[in-house]
Subunit: 428 residues, 4 copies
């Protein structure tokens, strides 16, 4: 295509060939701005794409583009849509990508009508660093997580993320989209172990390299006194990999553990009988119906009254739960409807369990989600985007689902959790 | 191989070539019997296989084999193992396959030491018709399900299946293996739609044929006044298939529904906004972060106080929950830790939810598990083996896991739940 | 974050915090330009990202950004890298994204050293519209496909895409990166059925909507007299869906079919015996080892000498191959090492089969890849990016692999191929 | 159920409740016998099940059952079906399970009508040790494999397995089912690493144990001077695991390699550029379109004329192909239609490639199928059932498909091939 062709094509684009768009009347508009590495971090393209997908329009008012990969850019756009309602919906989306309203106004507030009920038009958060403007001052929202509301205490000048069911009647909740600012994550200037918005995961990559990166992140975290969270699924015991988790606990690499009834019941079964669901962990051989040892293990701990008491009586061996109890690891066990027993210590109420998990998430810097789905989804829902998340599962669908879910710095590893933990322990 | 060779080989087998086995001393033994179509129903081979795998031995005392496919067989075996403990373990397994102790004794009973704690050596059930011998009489165990204990009331001469956490201190629990009889399922004489122990599932079969079989089972069940249970996952709403479920409810094909917070929240979101997780169900188009409508739907129902009240106010449209409320379908919604909200009506305590599900399972004859994993596993744990179970999921791992899980009459369909429900509705 | 904070942050970015980058000496540089909807089509962000990932640098020389979603943009960048070799590698990548060298030079040419061997530094194509500059004039490359060389005939002023093994000694091959221009696909201004670079696929979407879009594309193609290609895997016969393909052939919706030995052997087995791998397609029941009918079907056709002769003798019934022979559909059957037989008509040499497939791909506008992996990968390797590709498979890994593979206008459907074809036939 | 109930139930079974079966007239019958550990090896149950599924009948003429797990059993049955054709079909199936006709007759022979065409009613083999009766003598069939014909040379008194396309006009082919004897595999008396008919595979088992078993089988094989075959997929290079395969070659553990164009092209790309499909194997980082190095590697080897010449010139480094060339490993590279290039040495004709693979399979005792599908399926089609097969893939569907496919002594490992090979190398 020569230059004349190109010019003609551009001209055509300017004029006629999208008449359907030109005819849409826009009756509502606002001005937004974007700042930072907005091009290679995909913020500008995603903002434009979202506007186009919504059938809305934009007009560039000002644009300063960084002249090299080291410089930031700045764009101010007027966005117009066919109604205020559409514009409000679109603005919610643009803010999550990283746009902020150009005209700074205070956030609008409305009181919660009842305990556990938000105002209709409540602002729904992203899991990125977020500030709200209260009485002219920008205030950072504490305990930010995905898809919750923001409650503001104007007197104390503070704001916090607030899950729907925890709001109390009369608390002031941010509504609409004004007065909210989100700091998007930027693309690192160079390749990093924890990929930026890299949801693509593959079993066809060299895992040894990736495991070395995970080990480094955990080593750094321990050195800083940071918290590393492991979310554990029962396959860890079935595959005879509990010893590696126990070793990591003893070596100080794990501060928090989330799991369910199964992982702990299997861990105790392994300690008491040397089996997991009836499979002998030394020989790999099992019986046709192997639930009996599993149930006996639970029953025995129930008879003692608690995991702590069972540990005192020497029933828990040297597995995960024993190591956790000995090393002061915070363990949150959340129950589910498929549980047998359950084990003492398992929180059977899901709302209460979420609350305990939320508390325990505070301060977590690295999170390894290993062969878990239910507990892993619940966890990724709660974590800020900046936490380095490693999702390990042999099922690519699980890895994709979890790596896509909020964590901006996710590493998805489609691999065998037993061999992963063995290598990780060796690499640390 | 000519006859001489064969004879020699058989001779060799009789004599030397397994010296390792002959040397194991057996100090404990008992006699069992098997009756029925034990060869083609794989009962005899599995009994022999289990004995061999356990390193134990058997000796045939009596054997009468059916002379054709119409006649039953009978076998009496002495089983010997190296210790009483080993023998007891093995007997537990053999009973689940279908063996019964030859010498009829009463079941041994021990009191539960504490609320929610069973005696150490409690008998763990299969989900097959089971009887216990009390004071010389065989009594059927009520509410049989997999992996629970049996509580006996000698005075009233009754027995019931009893999940561990529901036992009360002092209740009499069956221990050991004597005095328990299980009626194994037999292989049907001809191919049937609901395969006998057929865990192999495939996406490479003609689903239209299978769907016709499911339709027939549901039609028969409705004609008999039986109960059909649907366990529903949220993909049913994402794929715009809720209309088919609602239609089946209105046509009287569904009596019980199990689900979680997500399926109902999405159903209500679809009714209120025409979207599912922000995806427009009419166009398939969506926004980048579509949780907002989802949360608004939950919040709006919370504001009314209950699903029933929301329905009275006309907020629930004509979807699944609306149809269920209008047609008196029993809906059990069990929460989990990944839930937002939750919706009013969702039971957040997993033990309480299990209890409600157990009640609702009574009398169920057909069960369709559609695009659900957590709720489906919990359900299959509770159902007797004779319930016809249809597992539908696009993920073969889910279908295998569920079809393997107890239900002896399972049909596993690796297919698209939207197209499955559409075809099923059309076939009924 | 207030404006002062933002300014400070930007300042910091400009100065210190990437010292590692500043220290890299760049000794080679060139100038590229980008034109069109380069921001929302992700061309500019991907160019910048590729430069950063390569550890290279850029400097904006000119930038004119479209002021609304209707206007195009233009950017001219200087790209610098640490060596000419690195720069050349990077340029190859940037060109594939859509960059063109600013200074127009003729393409460099070198003769192929031997039959089937390219010059060392051959230019490797993208599957996008590509032109080369020959003696000052831009010439479009004929038969463009992914990952092949470009052979130029200067005398006739023509250029063609050339797979490695087809080059003849002495033919002039484009080397280096100069004088090559690629026209990138641009993001449509509105959502379209065939997603732009949308590799994400999901089983959790409403397939009925998507199937309607596929039907529309096929209807349009037939109305225009265009060619639709179906690539068929054997599951189509196993699932009893061959009738739908045969119907689409008879109704004029399919012009070309690619498949292997298995699909045709199963189609003939179904015609002769009513089975597929021994499974009765009317009842779904089968024998333990069902290969016998399959082998007999192949043997019978072999005895007649050809599919055409078998058809004349009435052996092929009314399935896929019968319909294709009757309606003049071009069928290319490519063999593989797992084949039994093979069927007459199957091309056993893979290079020869590729050649036949390449010919048959010319003019194809819509391509449906149904339950095929080997043949589907081979096909997507050959198709220009502008062909509308629909990938249908129940295995998400297959859909992802194929949808990612070159086709820029791909629709990935994780669904059941039987139910897909049934719906598609009904929707047309 | 008390004894009276049981008797009544048995009586009912004998009389009325299967009237549909009794009414089927049987006009064709024959007598078969079964010998060995036919109950726990599932031979008798499968024979009965197959007869029932076919709607046929049996009558026990003689039955002697082993009195313990050490003794063999013997059964003679009359089998009757509604027609000779049905009976012949059923007999084919029963023979594959392990039944032999009681009356010994010579195998019936018919000449092949044309080159590559078998007689209509040709006998189709199982991959188990098979003998045919020629002129009163039992002769073992050489080169047995699944789903081929048997060609007999009466003069020389020999028989061989014969793929359809290799038969020559006039060669005598076994037809019908008489005079053929198959020796079924028997269940080992104790658990073994290589499971008997154990197609169930799981990622939730301890792989370290299984890998130790594979190592032992390979060590034994090497010690005996046996042949171990590795079938390799390209993921082995992508995951940077080629070094482990090369090490196993150098240590004498691999005698034969099957693979395709991709594995070798990637191996050479890794040697020349340190990348695999453009991914740097040292850092895991890659470019957007990484096929260039891949094509260059192929082109470079093509320029030298052969892999051997490329190796002489030092271009192949120390990877798989270099090690194989240095250690005299037999490498069969079979091409497919998705190949680029192809590499010199790749056999592009699938029939010719099958022939070479068949030759190379002779004498193989252990076979490791690693991250391969096409080549692995082709291989399992050719191997006798007695070869110990290890299927390693991260995709459970692949493992199930391959482990089900004939090999009676298969071990299916759903795991990460990189970590598997690393552990295997360490365990040897």
């Amino acid at each position: 295509m020569n230059k004349a062709d190109k010019a003609e094509k551009a001209e055509k684009a300017r004029k006629g060939h999208r008449p359907d768009r030109a005819s849409t009347a826009s009756t509502a508009s606002t001005v937004i701005e974007l700042q930072g590495h907005i091009i290679d971090s995909l913020i500008l393209p995603r903002v434009w794409g979202a506007i186009e997908d919504a059938g809305a329009h934009f007009h560039v008012q000002e644009m300063r583009v960084g002249q090299s990969e080291l410089e930031e850019s700045y764009v101010r756009l007027e966005v117009s849509a066919e109604s205020e309602a559409r514009l409000a919906d679109l603005m919610g989306e643009l803010q999550r990508i990283g746009a902020t309203p150009f005209v700074e106004r205070d956030a609008q507030l409305e009181p919660a009508p009842r305990d556990g009920v938000l105002p209709d038009d409540f602002y729904s958060t992203a899991n990125l660093p977020t500030s709200v403007r209260i009485d002219g001052a920008w205030v950072e929202v504490a305990r930010i997580e995905m898809d919750v509301a923001i409650v503001v205490d104007r007197e104390r000048g503070v704001a916090r993320a607030c899950p729907m069911h925890t709001v109390r009647a009369g608390e002031m909740v941010v509504v609409g989209y004004e007065g909210v600012r989100i700091e998007p994550l930027e693309r690192p200037r160079q390749r990093e172990a924890f990929g930026f918005m890299q949801s693509a995961v593959s079993s066809e990559r060299a895992k040894s390299l990736a495991i070395a990166d995970v080990a480094e992140a955990m080593r750094d975290c321990r050195a800083r006194g940071g918290k590393t969270l492991f979310v554990l699924g029962p396959a860890i015991v079935h595959t005879a990999a509990r010893q590696y988790v126990a070793a990591l606990i003893r070596r100080g690499y794990i501060q928090v553990i989330f799991g369910g009834n199964a992982i702990i019941a299997h861990d105790v079964e392994a300690a008491m009988f040397g089996t997991s669901l009836g499979i002998d962990l030394k020989t790999g051989q099992g019986v046709e119906h192997g639930h009996r040892n599993h149930l006996r293990a639970i029953n025995t701990v129930r008879a003692t009254g608690s995991l702590e008491e069972a540990h005192r009586r020497g029933l828990l061996g040297d597995g995960i739960i024993a190591a956790a109890l000995e090393h002061g690891v915070e363990v949150v066990l959340a129950g589910s409807i498929r549980d047998a027993g359950p084990m003492p210590g398992v929180i059977t109420d899901s709302v209460q369990a979420q609350g305990r998990m939320r508390e325990a998430c505070q301060g977590v810097e690295v999170c390894v989600l290993a062969a878990s789905m239910l507990h892993a989804i619940a966890t990724t829902n709660m974590l800020p985007a900046a936490v380095k998340c490693v999702v390990v599962d042999i099922n690519p669908a699980v890895v994709t689902k979890l790596a896509d879910r909020g964590a901006a710095l996710a590493m998805g590893l489609v691999t065998d959790v037993e061999l992963f933990l063995r290598e990780l322990d060796a690499a640390l």
